[in-house]
Amino acid sequence: MKTFIKLDWLSVLIVLLLVAMGWATIYSTTLAEVNANIFDISKLYGKQLLWIGLGVFLVVLVLSVEAKFYQGFASIIYIVALLALLGLPFFGKTIAGQTAWYSFGSFSIQPAEFVKVAAALAIAKYLTGINVSLKNFKNQFQVLLLMLLPMALIMLQPDAGSALIYLAFIFPLYREGLPSFYLIVGTLAVTIFLTSIKFGAVYVSGIILAILFLLLYIKRKQKPNYFLFIAIAALCIGFSFSANLMFDKLLQPHHKDRFEIILGMKSDPSGAEYNTYHSKVAIGSGGFSGKGWLQGTQTTGRYVPEQHTDYIFSAVGEEWGFLGSSIVILLFCSLMLRLWFLAERQKSNFSRIYGYSVVGILFFHFFVNIGMVLGVFPTVGIPLPFFSYGGSGLWGMLILIFIFLKFDAKRMD
């Protein structure tokens, strides 16, 4: 009972709101008959209602377990999770080319959605170990390994989107002292890569040189290490010139299309851009206040493919307009900021680091999914938490968050 009293009810409220809005949107995108029964579990909206009900049960279960259990069994949970991924090629079910599910009768479970929880626990556990410091290269490497193992196994399914989520652990790692160097290099690499593809290496190199001279000029009185500056610039320019080559040789044609569309180098509304285009049409036609629930012409007309899963935000945009979709974005934001605040107030290192991971994972889902639906991020198949149809995704996200809320409720013990 104590747990329930001390639970952060603000977070719970936001989660409840998002789940409720999520289900309403799923209903709108999957409704196909006139006299609908929302409890009809042969329909997707009925099933989702069942997942939500079972999710509540899971939440109660998660909250009932001793907080110490999660810390104590973190390694074992992690190993079990990896085994679950390893077993997929042998016992898994293949849907649309991805072997990502275990099927039990008519229901399927997607382990990748739960492995995130295990990885978050394992990384928190590792970082709380004695003498572990992220300044230390050996520790950096080991924690990277913890991330890469599940990531690699998920890539094998293959499910690039779910694998991408493991970048979310940048959040706890950075917060726990990972040198900024990695972040700077990463950001720089992505920036140079994208600008080189869009504007060409010559142009980008010019800018790099300009920045180099500017920096040297500003720092001229401090006797800068000229050799270091020039070496970095040379590396950047070299990377810029190899960017197009990498882009052509390493990426699959359909991945290249996605980049080129986002960078505005290609337009193909009836081909590679089909989903994004129809998603934008649905959102754009929503206007300020939307067309109303179940009234979206694009949503009810099923013009956006995968609208009940990855593209569900387009239905929010069409039916609830600028107002409704902004509220959804602000709700996600509030949840993340609230959880971040909760993480910061943890006394135990383990629960704090875990909290950072929760926010990181939430953020990546939110950023990649809505970015894709709004046409500002390349197409990557990642579900929007609480909104996209699917039991595993919902349960994984609820477990992830409520383990942390359990920690938070017990932080004074």
């Binding site: 409704l31 196909a32 008959e33 006139v34 959040f171 950075y174 917060r175 002292g177 129809h278 934008k280 049409v281 649905a282 959102i283 754009g284 036609s285 929503g286 206007g287 300020f288 012409t297 694009q298 009810t300 007309g301 099923r302 013009y303 945009g317 069409e318 307009g321 600028f322 979709s325 902004s326 974005i329 602000l330 996600f332 934001c333 993340m336 900021l337 971040w340 910061e344 950072y356 926010v359 990181g360 953020f363 939110f366 950023f367 809505i370 970015g371 709004l374 046409g375 500002v376």
Partner: protein, 620 residues
Amino acid sequence: MRKALPIILISLVAFIFIGRLAYLQLVDDSYKEAAIDFSTKKVYDYPQRGYVFDRKGKLLVANQPAYDVMAVPLDVQAFDTLAFAKVLNITPERLKQQLERAWVYSPRLPSIITPQLTKKEYAYLQEQLHKYDGFYIQKRQLRDYQTEHGANFLGYIAEVNQRDLDQKPYYQSGDLIGRQGVESQYEELLRGIRGVKYYQRDNFNRNIGSYENGSFDTISEKGKDLTLTIDIDLQAYGEKLMKNKRGGIVAIQPSSGEILSLVTAPNYDPDELVGRKRSRNYTRMWYDSISKPLYDRGLQAMYPPGSPFKVFTGLAALQEEVVGLNEKFSCYGGYSYGRSARMGCHAHSSPVEMISGIAYSCNSYFAQVYRRTIEKYETPQLGIETWSKHMKSFGLGGFLGYDLPVGRRGRIPDSTYYNRAYPTNKWYATATLSNAIGQGEVETTPIQLANAISAVANRGWFYRPHILKEMNGNPIKDSVYTVKNKTTINEKYFEPIIEGMHDVYKYGTARFLNVEGIEICGKTGTAENFIRIDGERMQLTDHSIFVAFAPKENPEIAIAVFVENGGYGARYAGRIASLMVEKYLKGNITRTDLEQWILSNSLEEEYAKPYSGEPFKINQ
């Protein structure tokens, strides 16, 4: 910093997303239009195509309903292909093929599956159609011809092809568009403007009322009724006279430039190109490459004009003042102008001056005045340029600019033309001497010649010939057709020439064709011509040519008649011209024997000669 960076990142992303939403939902309107496009069903209201009348108000072209079976591929549910094909009266393969084509055109837009069912087929289909989702019937208008004549200038309507769809965004697959003639020229007036109603569809694909209370709907606008300058009775008579012959007749009202009749032979009944039989008939006529019924000889055939051209040779000579009106030239059965060069002439009384030269059509006379015209200038180049300018001022040697979609330039050679033919630029008037008598390099279309004669009848000017008289009962006021085009010949020089043309009927080459009670002027023409069959050039029987206008004062009709391989000018063309003028001015024919001769004589045997493979004789 490490504490704040994630907070900043989260807030920044939220800010970007809301900004992006604002752009998509509040700023950019294009998505709203796209959404309407995708989620509404457009039902078109095709207006009545405008009617076409002749100059006396006789209805020529009306409309009849036809029913197209349409399909929106995305809406088509699985159905019994065999049964439906039977209902549509097509093979199941054809039905599948049509549906595949519709998919390729657009999954969401309607395409025609079977076009133009009759009323009876429609009645049966209507009972069955509810069983087949995604199919519906679109009512359309087809042309209903009230006349069997004038197919060449009336044109026809047909389904738009891919090129129309690419070039003219107004049209959609299955729409009808005017082809050839008036239907094509005045397509935009005749078709009117299509109306559209938007219906919103729910996800069960039912219409759930009009979209946005019909604020996007438009009302159709009826096509304009057109009155043509054509006299359909004269047209019909011309076509009757031209039966079993090839060639063209163009009659123009000189005072207005209105085309009174535009006959081409052989022709076809416009009804042959209506509805489902159109494509079969069209293909048949398209492949008839010998008699070419789809070829409008009145507008498109370039013939050597022959002797009628002497009228213009004479006018140019008078304008250039190289010959006196009474100056006499002897004709020794021809004109020798070089060591062995000689232009022949037929037997007639000699000597001749301008007026009798025209009346007798003396080659020698016109060869000499032509030569003087050219040689008046320092170089033959300058001479030809001057002459060419005079000829072109009659509308010869270039597109006339009439309001029908086909035509040819004809040919009036200039100095560039001969400089190209003689690369040393050493050529003299004598090399071009055949131009004097309308042979050689000169070529005209029948309408060009009719127009030029109309300019003679007007004593020096013409209105551009045109076929549209009124739109919805209001006379057209297009300045292109209401501004006088002046020729370069002084008015006073026309009188002697016209006198000569009058004498053609009095004692000249057409004296037996004079029409009682009508002061008629004319000129015969006989033109040598050649064809090439399998690479072999052979001469055929001369073309019979005639131009005329009447009455002499205040002329009401100017006419040019070309009869391919009809022999000397007065034989076929002269008779036909004379009958046409009488028909137009008097309304009835007094010389039934003359009429009977034309109606009973056929040139089909003559046309068959070169293709028979046997040696044949010409000009018999």
